[in-house]
Structures are given as structure tokens and as C-alpha cells.
Subunit: 413 residues, 2 copies
């Protein structure tokens, strides 16, 4: 192990694409003016990446788990803990977490509105949160946080909890909240707790001021919760435990922050960072430089804008998002190029022509001022195919980045 | 399976590198004049190789284990058995081996000198070896061999021995030799034997002529042994068992010979073969040709010189070592080209600019007079990236070599 550098990992969400008619048969990465990315490609090592595996279309959560060096199948805790972390409700090994909706039910627990009208004031959210957070059932403690609109995250803390239970949510109105069954014998206690929680939550929620007011206004009551996406925080080593590194996440979206925190990164908030094209790229650059200059060994920077543009079928905006990220990375490297090993990539392909995640691999470039170059001259899906990294998997990125930046011990003598 | 050839595997230790200023931005492999390697690259198949895995910096022992076709993590026995084999003390499955130092202790077993002054005459080594070799404790037989200076190898033979024990060596002077604890329950017997061995060895060593003489001369006494790097010879199939081949090692360093013998190769000694640039390349070529013409199916030839030059930061000497190896391989192929499949590679990158093993992949070329060529024209880290092998792992080399040379049966019907 030689001199240690900070590993910088920039992910443009959904950046991979296919040739687009509206771009004259080029992909958005080919069409975009990206002087910094192209310089990194010319001086560094390029390749294609199947984030999960060949032919597998990654979800955002599993993709990032893989990109952080974890097995996206064996180590995947389900959406619950990742969302909970993103919402600021930290879980620990053994906890079971859910995504939650406020919902409207009648006196027989028949669902009338799965989102309870969707709109909530901060005051309403606070009252509902206070009513739910702290419930105890059979020695299991319930923690709850309201997030955006009708959404929230709910965590069960206690011994012997498992996520393998059937659904609460009937997924349509006019049907009763479902009685949960264990999907494996060990989950019997969890199923019992959740069934009782449905009853207790309804009891506590129905009489709240929020609902008296909503009844007066004729707005759907928030008198029940629907839970989904159960997941158990598994006992995997965090990045600090695994590599002895201090790792940071700079991201605008809760799921990315949540997944990063789940594996032990610290969230560094940036003023004006959002999940859209209007995110403050200057502030992200400044904060990234600051974080690299502090004692962090690894900094993950997530830019959501290319994915949004893709889902909207907006090729022009995708090109713009890529160009703005290129400029941002240029600013970062102007300040700290000699102190870093940097990788630029995406978490999956979101084809503008389809508007959804696709299985096509994404390009990746790894650069440092000492790294061996290959023959690639431009950063794109097409050019990257000729690079020295050939085809890697998402799970390979973390060792490559940490290996080159001096944070992995020699194996053997 | 068609006609059988001899698989020849040439490893230039630490040959991989990065662009070097002193070589005009070229790597040593790019800068060296290597007409033979370049011909093999032009006619054969090239690629890059992560010897252990992406981002992992290999040690010499784990790297060679992988290159011989074994899982470098699951099949790694620790340094002890590999060193013991290298020293000429062969272990068998179930044995536990250690690296050993002669040391100086006082009457309370407090360590005064961890290397007992470092210098020993052959006569002293012989007397100390005789005192230690053959000790028996609880049915466990101790075998010992003195090697270089204060160093030696020690093997425990017996039933139910395990390597998971805590350290003997306090790793500093002024501290007592440590009482060994088992790190898993099965290792309790081994810990007991080692603790008793420390006492018995001290008893046997303190009264030797060697120590009477050393006391007179005021040289530190060799009245104890410090053991480290315990490893258990695991029950893996040897190369002959696995592939039905007869395999030979031609190497100058004990560790390489040891690792090769551990997997069932026979050591073919070569007059004048050393671990430096002054090794006798002509004799190595002659002996390799002889071994290929004998009934060996696989010949591993190890050239240590490039690694030494790298650790010394000596780019010129690294280039020279590569050029001499190129010439040597030319001589070998002039004699036996039609009878072999040959692979040329390194076991890891040792960057001259850093002077240590690094995680960068190494180039590999596989040639035979029947193999399909790719578009690579020169043997180097940069050119190999465009080759038909793309990126392989160390563990892939043995099947590729033995497959092309006709020593792996068709799998299936």
C-alpha cells in the first residue's frame, strides 16, 4: 500500500442510453459536450459495466448497493431500511423497516383511500408522527417518521423480527386491510406485531385533531397506515468496518442517501442540492472539494437529473444534465486532481426512447494522475467498449477505486 | 483431446508497471526491446489479468497460488507451509508449519533480541537444527530446518493440529514470549503443544556449544525460537492429482519453489539461478528446454529480477531484466516452439515509481503455433488491453494453458 488518496465516485443516475433519432443517432453521452469526461477517458481506463449482471435491469437501490461493493442479491435488505435511512430514521442490524402510507379506512378497516388524499400540512404530519412513534407491542418498539405528503417510514425494534411476512396493503380501495401471515416460521412474531399495530395505529389516529379538522373540511381522514416493502437490516460489515475508511455521500434523493447511510457513509448536506436539473451544481462542487480536503477517504456524489430527463423522454434535458455534471467534475478536479482517484459512471441505463430503466450496460471511466491509459478518447457507451476495463460488474467498482487509492491491504505476503 | 504439448508458464515477478517519466512516459515493458515477446503477442492471444481480483494488490504467495489454478482465498494455507516447502521441509495435509527466528531470551523468557544478532555460521545452524529437529510433545513431532541467518522453518506433525492460534512473538524486545491461546476451540491442542515447545526448545538450546561460544564472544545467544505465520497444509488436490500431469518448477527464490512444491511441482535446480539480474539466463533456458524435452507436461519458470529492480526504483534495470528474459524465451522457443503452449506474464504490478506491489492488472500473452491471433502487436500493459483474452483472473491461467496443451478432458459428452 502506497500513498493514500480520496476515492471520488460520481454517479449520473440513469445516464446510459441508446442511439436516439432526435440526437442524430447518437446517445446523450455522445451528443453532449463533455471536455472533462473526455479528458479523463483519454488519460484513464474505460469500460462497460453490468451493474447487477448481464441482462439484469437494476433498480436504484440494488444498483447502488452493488456500486458500494455489496452483493446486490445476498446483501439486499429490501426497500424498507434504505428508505428509513433516507428519511433520517436509522436502523440497526435486526430491525425491520417498512415504507408507509397514511390511508383512510372505515370502521371495519376497509380501505377508502390508499393515500388519504395525499396532501398533508407539516402540522398534520407532526401530530400523526407523534401518535405513531413510540408505540410498543409485545416488547417491540415502533419508530415512525412522516416524510413527503402521505408517505413515511416505520421501523420495528426488538428481538426475533423478520421481514418475510405477507402484505398489509390490499392494493385497492373497497377491500379490508389484510391480516398478515408469516412467510417463514421465524416471522410469526413479526406478523402478530404488525397485525396488532394496524389496530393500535387506527385507535390512536382516528381521534386526532388532524382528523377532526379534515372531517370538517371534507378531506379524507388519515386514520390508518399501510405498510409495504418490509426489509430487515442485515448484519453486513459497514464500509468503515470493512475497509477502515471514512466515507461520505453527497446526494439529493432520499433513497441514495439512505442506501449510502445503510452501508456506513455520512451524509454531507449541500444547500440547493435537489433531484432535478435545477440542482445547485456549483454548491455540490464546492462541498465535494471541501469534503475531499477534509479527512474523508471516499466521497460518493450522486446526480439525479439525467434519470429524470430520461423518464420524461427529454433527450435535450438529459444532454444538458450531462454537460452540467461534466462542468462540475471539471471544477472539482481543477482543485484536487492530484489528491484523488475518480470514477464516473451511471447506476443503470434509462433509455429516453422507453422512459424506463433498461438492462444495457453503462460506461465507466477510472482516472488518476498515475493510472495507465487505454486507447479510448471519449466518454460514451460506444467508446467505452474499447477500454482496458472491458466489462466489469457494479460490485467491482469499490475494490478498483479503493485499490488504486491505497485503501485495500495487500492480500498475502 | 488432441495432441499433448508441454505447457510453459513464464512469470516475470512484478513486471507490471505504470508510465514512467524516466522512460519518456512508457512502462518498462513498452520501453524494453522484446522481439520475442512481441512476436508472441502478434501471433498469439493477449489480455489483462487481475491475479487475485479487481483492485486487490497480490502478495507473492497468494498470486502464485492463483496462477497455479487454486482459489487464492479459500486454498491459501498461510505463509508457513509455503516457506517450509521452499526451505526443503515438505509438509503434508494436516501439518502445521511456521516461519521461525532464533532469538535471545533471559531466564524469565523475556525477549532481548528477536534475531539473536542475525549472523550464524553453518556449524552453529547445524547444531541448533539438530537440537530442535525431532522434539516430540504429546505425540506431535517437531521438524525444523535452519535456512538463512537467524531464520528457519518449523513443522508440527500429528493428529488434530490447527493454525488458528495467537502469537508467540511479542514483536518487541523487553517483553516475555507470549502464551499462545487457541483462536478456535479445535486449536487448543496446537496451542498447548506450541507453549510446551517454547519451554523445551529453550531448555535444549541454552546449553549448546554454540551458545557457550557466543557467550564468550559477547554475541547474543540463540536460546529460544520465535514462531510466526502459522499455516495448515490443507487437503487440496495437487496438480498431478487434479490434472494427471507431471509439473516442474524452475525458480530462484525459496517462496516460489515452496509454493510450486506445495501444489505438487518438482523443483528442477539450475546452476547459477538466483533472484537477481545476475541469474544465469542461459542455464535457465538450457534447463527449461531439457525439462520440456523430458516427460514434464507443465514447466513453471520464475524470473525474480524485474521485481527487485522495481522495489529498488531502478527502471533501467527493470528494462534490462525484461530484455534478458525475452532473449531467454527466444532461445527456448528456437528449440521447442512446436512442442509447447507458452504463456508470458507477471504475478503483480510493482510500480517503479512507488517501489511496492500495486493493484494494477498485468499483461499476459498465450501463444502456440496453432492458436488464433488477435490484433495486438506488442507485449505491454497498454497493448494487451486490446487483446482477445480481455480481462482474466489469475485462477484462469492454468485451465487456459492446460486446455490448449491437451491436458484437460472434455467436460461432458
Amino acid at each position: 500500500m502506497s500513498d493514500k488518496r480520496t476515492a471520488v465516485f460520481v454517479v449520473m443516475d440513469g445516464v446510459g442510453d441508446r442511439p436516439l433519432k432526435e440526437l442524430g443517432g447518437k446517445t446523450p453521452l455522445q451528443a453532449a459536450k463533455t471536455p472533462t469526461f473526455d479528458r479523463l477517458s483519454a488519460q484513464g481506463q474505460n469500460g462497460l459495466m453490468n451493474v447487477i449482471g448481464p441482462g439484469i435491469t437494476p433498480g436504484s437501490d440494488t444498483a447502488h448497493l452493488a456500486l458500494f461493493g455489496y452483493d446486490p442479491i445476498a446483501d439486499y435488505p429490501g426497500r424498507g431500511p434504505l428508505e428509513a435511512f433516507g428519511a433520517g430514521l436509522e436502523t440497526k442490524p435486526g430491525d425491520v423497516a417498512f415504507r408507509s402510507n397514511f390511508a383512510t379506512v372505515d370502521s371495519k378497516m376497509v380501505v377508502l383511500d390508499r393515500r388519504a388524499g395525499r396532501n398533508f400540512t407539516p402540522e398534520e404530519q407532526a401530530e400523526l408522527q407523534a401518535a405513531l412513534d413510540g408505540i410498543e407491542i409485545d416488547g417491540v418498539k415502533v419508530r415512525f417518521i412522516a416524510t413527503v405528503e402521505h408517505r413515511g417510514a416505520l421501523v420495528l425494534e426488538g428481538e426475533g423480527l423478520y421481514a418475510e411476512i405477507s402484505d398489509v396493503d390490499p392494493h385497492e380501495t373497497g377491500k379490508k386491510i389484510l391480516t398478515v401471515r408469516p412467510l417463514k416460521p421465524e416471522a410469526e412474531k413479526t406478523a402478530k406485531v404488525v397485525n396488532e399495530l394496524m389496530r393500535v395505529a387506527h385507535e390512536r389516529m382516528k381521534g386526532l385533531e388532524t382528523n377532526k379538522e379534515r372531517a370538517k373540511k371534507g378531506i379524507p381522514l388519515a386514520n390508518a397506515i399501510l405498510l409495504r416493502g418490509p426489509g430487515r437490516h442485515s448484519d453486513i460489515p459497514s464500509l468503515p468496518e470493512r475497509y477502515g475508511i471514512k466515507a461520505a455521500v453527497i446526494a439529493g434523493g432520499a433513497l441514495y442517501i439512505g442506501t449510502a447511510k445503510y452501508v456506513g457513509m455520512e451524509h454531507i448536506p449541500v444547500e440547493g442540492q435537489t433531484g432535478t436539473i435545477d440542482t445547485n451544481f456549483d454548491n455540490i462542487a464546492k462541498k465535494t472539494i471541501e469534503t475531499i480536503r477534509a479527512d474523508y477517504n471516499y466521497v460518493f456524489v450522486h446526480i439525479k437529473a439525467p434519470d429524470n430527463a430520461s423518464h420524461d423522454g427529454n433527450a435535450k434535458e438529459k444532454v444538458l444534465a450531462i454537460e452540467k455534471t461534466d462542468e462540475m467534475v471539471g471544477t472539482i478536479l481543477d482543485a484536487v486532481a492530484d489528491d484523488v482517484v475518480i470514477a464516473i459512471t451511471g447506476d443503470h441505463t434509462t433509455a429516453v426512447s422507453v422512459g424506463e430503466h433498461q438492462c444495457d450496460p453503462v460506461p465507466i471511466v477510472v482516472w488518476s494522475n498515475f493510472i495507465r491509459p487505454d486507447s479510448v478518447e471519449k466518454f460514451s457507451e460506444i467508446d467505452a467498449a474499447k477500454g482496458a476495463l472491458h466489462t466489469i460488474r457494479g460490485i467491482d467498482v469499490m475494490p478498483i477505486l479503493l485499490g488504486y487509492s491505497g485503501h485495500i491491504e495487500k492480500f498475502g505476503a
